[in-house]
């Protein structure tokens, strides 16, 4: 899933890096205003660790193969899109520099595809779905799943667009887009299933931790035994 070095030409890599840096800068502002302040950095750090660790869980698909979570939509639903963008940016940077996973010059591309497109498309779709579903907690996993299912093929489509601009070899774009989106529709379905199940379990145990559940929690009422006069 991580784009390596040399896949896109140097100008495209630099351009995606600049765009990614701009969006990450905007996310820094938004995250500090609306989602977390600088003092709660440990929380964001542990969420980044969670995304990294969640990608290590192998989900068996059958015939000896397995897949893993990408986690962009999941993180956006859980902690809000701006924080999720920051967390995924750091995860991708650490993977590139300490694990040699994903190209160093393709870091901007990877951040743009997963940390920006994956997160914000997933979040936007989840919000849109939530606005039409009943205002109850069980709606949240459904919205997260739809967000995940849409965000993965859209990110693949974004990659196809980047490849059209700065790709290594001329491939008929129609067939590349068909292959990429077709394959990632399947991956998106898996991602949606895992996101649904994971968000369900979190909503069942700690709905107060889920970002999109804010304002949807049942109001707590204070009950006291009747005072016997």
């Amino acid at each position: 899933m991580h784009v390596p070095d040399g896949f896109l030409d140097a100008p495209t890599s630099v351009a995606t890096g600049v765009v990614a840096a701009g969006v990450v800068g905007a996310s820094l502002v938004r995250a500090s205003r609306r989602e977390l302040d600088e003092r709660t950095a440990p929380l964001a750090g542990l969420v980044a660790v969670f995304v990294f660790a969640a990608q290590m869980v192998n989900f068996p698909v059958g015939a000896g193969t397995s897949g893993h979570l990408l986690g962009a939509a999941l993180a956006a639903v859980l902690v809000g899109p701006a924080t999720a963008t920051l967390c995924l940016t750091v995860v991708l940077a650490v993977q590139a520099f300490l694990f040699a996973d994903g190209g160093v010059t393709a870091l901007g591309t990877n951040v743009l595809l997963m940390g920006v497109v994956g997160v914000w498309v997933g979040y936007g779709v989840a919000r849109a779905v939530l606005s039409v579903l009943p205002r109850r907690l069980p709606s949240i996993p459904v919205a997260g799943a739809v967000g995940a299912a849409v965000s993965v093929p859209v990110a693949a489509l974004a990659f196809t667009g980047l490849y059209a601009v700065g790709g290594a070899a001329p491939i008929p774009l129609g067939s590349l887009a068909t292959a990429m989106v077709g394959w990632h529709l399947l991956i998106g379905l898996g991602e949606a299933a895992i996101t649904f199940l994971a968000v369900s379990s979190i909503v069942a145990a700690r709905p107060d931790l889920v970002h999109v559940a804010r304002g949807r929690m049942p109001a707590l009422e204070l009950r006291t035994p009747e005072v016997v006069a």
Partner: protein
């Protein structure tokens, strides 16, 4: 696709690359790989030379090959793409043994493999010689915004802790007779992922409170800032300079 085994690549050592300050290495790495990517695709001989340079960098770290070779596996999906490329790309066809393939696709595929492998080797040379803590210090030194540096520092601090937690949950599942064989295992695995999120978040809350009670104000104090001499910069940027000169030469001399 995906992140390989969750272990840091860093190996203690005392090679010249280990001694270079982390921020010099970081800039040298990015500049080198960017210059390699900028080399026009048909210049296969130049790219092969730069690949040898990257191999030389890895050898200069004096780290055993068994630490390095498994890393090349992260390239597999894209190597497959490169193998398919000559057959799907358009353009003039050439005969290659019994089959006829696209000339431009073949050129691009070879360049892709050379550039991708060079990038992975250079990143491995960086990763095996740089402590995770030093990467964070380098980012701080290079004026990366504070929240990102903080997130990165918590990430390198707690990644092993959380990975251990994940392992304990796996052992707990296995000791209760669970084995992940088919899609039917997904609800259990996904619920485990959810539990991992709650545990990570609560750990974040505890860490935050512990830090506040020790006087945390929102900024990490900078202890022992990184310093680099001119000689360090010259050493660190030498591979990038070689690659940049090679790229410029190829572009000038068609």
């Amino acid at each position: 696709m995906g992140s390989g085994p969750g272990e840091h690549l860093h190996v203690e050592g005392d090679s010249p690359l280990h001694r270079l300050p982390a921020h010099v290495k970081l800039i040298g790495l990015v500049a080198f790989v960017l210059a390699v990517v900028a080399v026009p695709s048909p210049a296969h001989a130049v790219l092969a030379g730069l690949l040898l340079l990257a191999v030389g960098l890895v050898l200069a770290t004096r780290v055993p090959a068994r630490h390095v070779l498994p890393r090349l596996a992260v390239e597999t999906p894209f190597a497959v793409f490169a193998l398919v490329l000559p057959f799907v790309a358009v353009g003039p066809q050439v005969e290659l043994g019994p089959v006829s393939v696209s000339q431009t696709g073949l050129t691009a595929a070879v360049a892709l493999l050379l550039k991708g492998t060079t990038g992975v080797l250079a990143a491995v040379a960086f990763a095996v010689t740089t402590r995770p803590r030093d990467l964070v210090r380098a980012l701080q030194h290079l004026r990366v915004p504070d929240p990102l540096v903080l997130i990165a520092s918590f990430m390198v601090r707690y990644v092993d802790v959380v990975a251990d937690q994940l392992r304990r949950m796996k052992v707990a599942r296995a000791s209760r007779g669970f084995s992940a064989r088919s899609v039917r295992a997904w609800p259990v695995l996904a619920a485990g992922t959810g539990a991992l999120f709650i545990r990570s978040y609560e750990r974040g809350e505890r860490v935050h409170l512990a830090m506040v009670s020790r006087g945390w104000t929102g900024r990490m104090p900078m202890t022992s800032p990184l310093t680099a001499t001119r000689r360090d910069w010259a050493t660190g940027l030498a591979p990038a300079l070689v690659a940049a000169v090679a790229a410029a030469t190829v572009m000038m001399v068609p």
